[in-house]
């Protein structure tokens, strides 16, 4: 997995509550495509008008924000469907960090599986970032080592993140690799559990 340490760049404000994963990537775009191929379809319903032309009013269609590596969003970003394609579409569009007051639980977890950093900041701070970034030329710095976001005006906004997730992201660790090292503990658990709860282990018997 890609590691994440410090990121500095343009932040695109998409300040609307409850942006769901259907909005981030439509389900049809996930059939017969690789994760890399999903990027052009990120935010399809917001990005394109009914005739297929780009909507110039949508922030990610505006020049300074097209390549933005940071997204600023409202409450509950990534709510809804568990589709990891939502993370892939952002990642392969060049995004590495989303800053919002809250995230959908499953989306939040999937970000860490793909080297994306979801940062939770209070709504007032995200709104300040959005105001300062509105022109498109301002840069935001996200420092995972120091757990701080630095606004274009130099305001330092510390954020919380669990150590286990921070470590994995800093090091680019693979969860499956880590867990496979616990194989003995898993085998021991299963041996005990087969005795304690036999009905779990023999479906239909």
């Amino acid at each position: 997995m890609d590691s994440f340490t410090v990121l500095a760049g343009v932040a695109a404000p998409l300040m609307r509550a409850n942006i769901d994963t259907d909005t981030i990537i439509r389900i049809e775009r996930m059939t017969g495509t690789t994760p890399e191929q999903m990027a052009p379809w990120a935010f399809e319903s917001l990005r394109f008008q009914a005739d297929g032309a780009e909507d110039p009013g949508f922030v990610l269609n505006q020049a300074p924000f097209r390549e933005a590596p940071i997204l600023l969003a409202g409450d509950n970003f990534g709510c809804g469907s568990s589709r990891e394609g939502a993370v892939w579409a952002l990642k392969y569009s060049g995004m590495r960090c989303v800053i919002a007051p809250s995230f959908g639980d499953i989306f939040y977890g999937s970000c860490f599986q793909n080297g994306l950093l979801p940062v939770v900041l209070p709504a007032a701070q995200v709104e300040r970032l959005a105001e300062q970034c509105a022109g498109g030329n301002a840069r935001v710095t996200v420092d995972l080592r120091q757990q701080v976001v630095v606004s274009p005006h130099g305001e330092r906004m510390p954020f919380a993140i669990e150590a286990i997730r921070r470590e994995a992201l800093l090091e680019g660790l693979d969860d499956i690799g880590l867990t496979l090292k616990q194989d003995e503990a898993i085998a021991a658990f299963q041996a005990r559990d087969r005795v304690a709860r036999p009905w779990v282990w023999q479906p239909g018997q």
Partner: protein, 466 residues
Amino acid sequence: MPGRTLFDKIWDTHVVADLGEGWALLHIDRHLLHDLSGGRALNDIARRGLPVRNPELAFATPDHAVSSAPGRTAASFKPGEALHNELQRRSAETGITFFDLGQDGQGIVHVMGPELGIVLPGVTLICGDSHTCTNGGLGALAFGVGSSELTHALATQTLRQRRPKRMRVRFEGACGPGVGPKDLILHLIGKLGANAGTGYAVEYAGSAVRALSIEGRLTLCNLSIELGAKMGLIAPDDTTYEYLAGRRYAPKGAAFDRAVEAWRGLPTDPDAVFDREERVDAAAVAPTVTWGTSPEHAIAVDGIIPDPADAADPERRAAGLAALRYMGLEPGRPIAGTPIDWVFNGSCTNSRLSDLRDAAGVVRGRRVAEGVTAWVVPGSERVRRDAEAEGLDRVFRDAGFAWREAGCSMCVAANGERVPPGARSVSTSNRNFVGRQGPGARTHLASPMMAAAAAVTGTITDVRRL
């Protein structure tokens, strides 16, 4: 020792290793796999050269990307055919039980799992689908995961999980006529917001929940994710054990008795403490319908479309105004009487036999209104057969509904089945997101009875007035 909640008891039983800071390596007892994410995960694990650790605990069926057209085959929806074949082939290679189209067992994963007795009280269950929380209706700790976690669980039979906070919602009292579990949960989401459950496992309790059938409990738990909670669950009781007895994959004989004895210890202890408690007076809940593009945009059917300009929070105001534009509605008007074009009866929320009976009860002796296209998509092959055995298909067909084959169909629109752009649908599904039922489609979420009422009147209608 302080009392423990239902959630705590299940969690504690499944900790393989404590990872610190509230994290645990958690054992996963059951997987459900479907065509959209299952084949991809099985390919991923093969690419990594890893075996499926416990294929005997996994069950697969195609549901998302299959046609629901009568007489369909895997090839009926071309883009889904490869997904179906991949899931079938990989399941066979790895020893996972696969229920194919036309077989008893095929259906929406969260309909199939309970009806076959795959889902049991006290188990941990995952699926690459956010509505996995549905299965909490049987007292399981069930939650949706993304592709990476699905692969992780197939390879290791565990997941690295952070212990969530605990919320309890008590629905007390009796539901009024025309009101059921779908109304209770939409009402709750409208009241608390679509992110109220974020970071929580939500237990539903109270006399109104005890009175629900298992199918009703599955509906209630299904929308936990629309409240923001990836886990929703209900303590098992005699209703649960009666439901499970004799089901194909439920324990049998002495094993069943032994399991029930253990399950009786699962309900939350009287002195257990939750991080958050909410209470809803079930008798005060009206038939509920959504007006916007988030499940939190829910109001009583006899209510007025709210003005988002009144919202205090600027992001909610922006979202509400965009929702009204998308839905083509004006604030300050009654939602009832809004003309509709489509009705969809189906999805993992409301496609079980009791849902179809509820809808048929409203439809019997009436006709689908002119200009309305109405579909019934049973949740599973078993539901379809049972409904046909009691003549429900005739009731729907005689009234002008299309009677279709089991699958996710128009709830997810990953199968070519869509509400046309700009058309307004009353749907028994779970998401009214922009484009969820097809680009430009306008979705109003409601119960099976309310959807049936809309179908026969051609407008959003208070079912209590029929």
